[in-house]
Symmetry: C2
Subunit: 319 residues, 2 copies
């Protein structure tokens, strides 16, 4: 089966310098650069109109992309929208377009263009987002070093729990369903983290911590050690996982679509950074482990190595 | 039914300054600007894998966008590709990706990113293209003036004739099928025309001269008079239309997907411009009419007004 990583590796053979981060950097004169990202959302792969209302889909389509821009330390500025609309969903699509405009205004980004076409049956859309960032503040995923601490912001697993609740037609779980339906990109946090010299690498968490951290390790040629007891869920999250019958750690490690940020920090700067972040944004950075020399991801619990088999999230493996 | 023009008009209410040309202008310091375009190509709407080989689809997906960049007078520089791939078409998609890389290299544009996902059944793709142009050379569709001459370059109707030949399973017509399958954006011509101060407006011809000229008239608040005897087909084209049973003028006026350029020229500069163009590119500019005060499109033949009813090409009306 065609695998997204293989696709990217193949494309890299022709274009070695440009592909690999959440957004691509467009060179520009002066101290600022543009960064640009592009995502695709396809009906029945990324969303189902039956349980995603048009307003939520608009928010998600936009913020998935803004998250990529934020992950580079950049400020989102412009957006283009391409959509392919099936006849069956015209009212849905019309509402989606209104809400997409509103979501752009809410996020202070300007919709500058796009393309609207018919689709034979499924709803398809692609958003392109453009942001600006001072060259010296751009963050990449390839620049982490052994010894750096692995940190995340945002909830881990909430969106996946929401998706499971939808798939199993469970009532309640509104908080998690909302996390799945209406992710909110860490735009201000991304810009602030970009400005911190203690941050050695950054990317967003779109496909789950486990697979995204693997990508960071691959790009930076480092190994990740995740300290399992640092994955501290709320009692509510733990109970929700229990009632659905899933392992809370597995959901936190592999659940996709939370759109938090994953970044690495110089260990000597961590305490001060975490403190400043908390003061500024009113919530905690989560330190989940440490980078080592090597490759891949290892897990420890109370100092003991744990052999954890995880199934990575992949669009190509879905459905 | 949701109509593309209505969609754009609605979006303009929220974002009045930015939507309407083939590509959007991204502000930048200095003498250069970036322009950016985004198109969507959907299986069974824009192409059918049964008669479009992966190499041709790659060429088309790329050049449809490069044409938008050329229409602004800009030089294409970067491309992003988003694709949604159904399981059935994996070999096709893999070949498509290789050819898309090659087409980018051939057109001297750099593939800088994108997104690859699964699709439930149909093949979708969206290309974003970015070009650079000196600010003073950017061409818009809203700046034409009454009295200007309406000109085109590129063939009119060839691609549509090719599509008809495919739809009717006709053998021969290879030249027209090739025009449909493998359009080639007028990249060098667009840049050169952008530099000419005699050119008062420009856009590409993607949906057919009739509908695209209507858009130019609307944007510039002018009327177009098309002189029908200036639509001089080759004998071969006329014969091909005859054998398929379609009116050659109608095909030339409404056939989409040729990706030539439509532009308007100050009348006093036309002769010299046409001469310089011919010397540089080795083929003729076609002067098809003149702009007047008013709105809409009128037709004359040997000085007499002709009432021509044309069905405009629309993605939403297709199939």
């Amino acid at each position: 089966m065609l695998n997204e990583n293989e696709v990217i590796e193949n494309l890299k053979l022709s274009f070695p310098d440009y592909i690999g981060d959440d957004a691509a950097v467009i060179p520009q004169q002066g101290e600022m650069n543009y960064v640009i990202s592009k995502d695709v959302l396809t009906e029945d792969i990324h969303f189902r109109p039956s349980y995603v209302d048009p307003a939520s889909l608009a928010q998600k389509a936009l913020h998935v992309n803004l998250s990529d821009i934020a992950a580079m330390g950049a400020k989102p500025q412009f957006v283009l929208l391409g959509i392919s609309i099936p006849n069956l969903h015209e009212k849905y699509a019309s509402d989606f377009l209104s809400h997409f405009s509103k979501a752009c205004l809410d996020a202070s980004v300007v919709l500058i263009g796009g393309d609207t076409t018919k689709s034979p049956d499924k709803f398809f859309m692609s958003v392109t987002a453009i942001g600006t960032v001072k060259k010296k503040y751009i963050k990449y995923r390839s620049t982490a070093k052994p010894g750096d601490l692995i940190c995340t912001i945002g909830n881990l697993g909430d969106a996946h729990l929401g998706l499971l609740a939808f798939e199993k037609s469970l009532s309640n779980f509104e908080k998690y369903k909302n996390s799945y339906l209406r992710p909110s990109a860490k735009i201000n946090e991304g810009q602030w983290l970009g400005e911190q010299s203690a941050i050695t690498s950054m990317m967003d968490i779109s496909d789950g911590l486990y697979i995204d951290l693997k990508r960071l390790c691959l790009a930076s040629t480092v190994q990740s050690n995740i300290v399992l007891e640092n994955l501290t869920p709320t009692e509510e999250f733990k109970a929700a996982c229990g009632s659905i019958g899933v392992d809370f750690r597995e959901v936190m490690l592999t659940g996709g679509e939370d759109y938090g940020l994953l970044f690495t920090v110089k260990p000597e700067s961590y305490a001060m950074l975490a403190d400043k972040f908390n003061q500024k944004f009113g919530y905690e950075i989560r330190q989940v482990g440490k980078l080592l020399n090597g490759t891949g991801i290892s897990f420890t619990e109370k100092g003991n190595e744990i052999n954890l088999k995880l199934k990575a999230f992949s669009h190509f493996g879905e459905l």
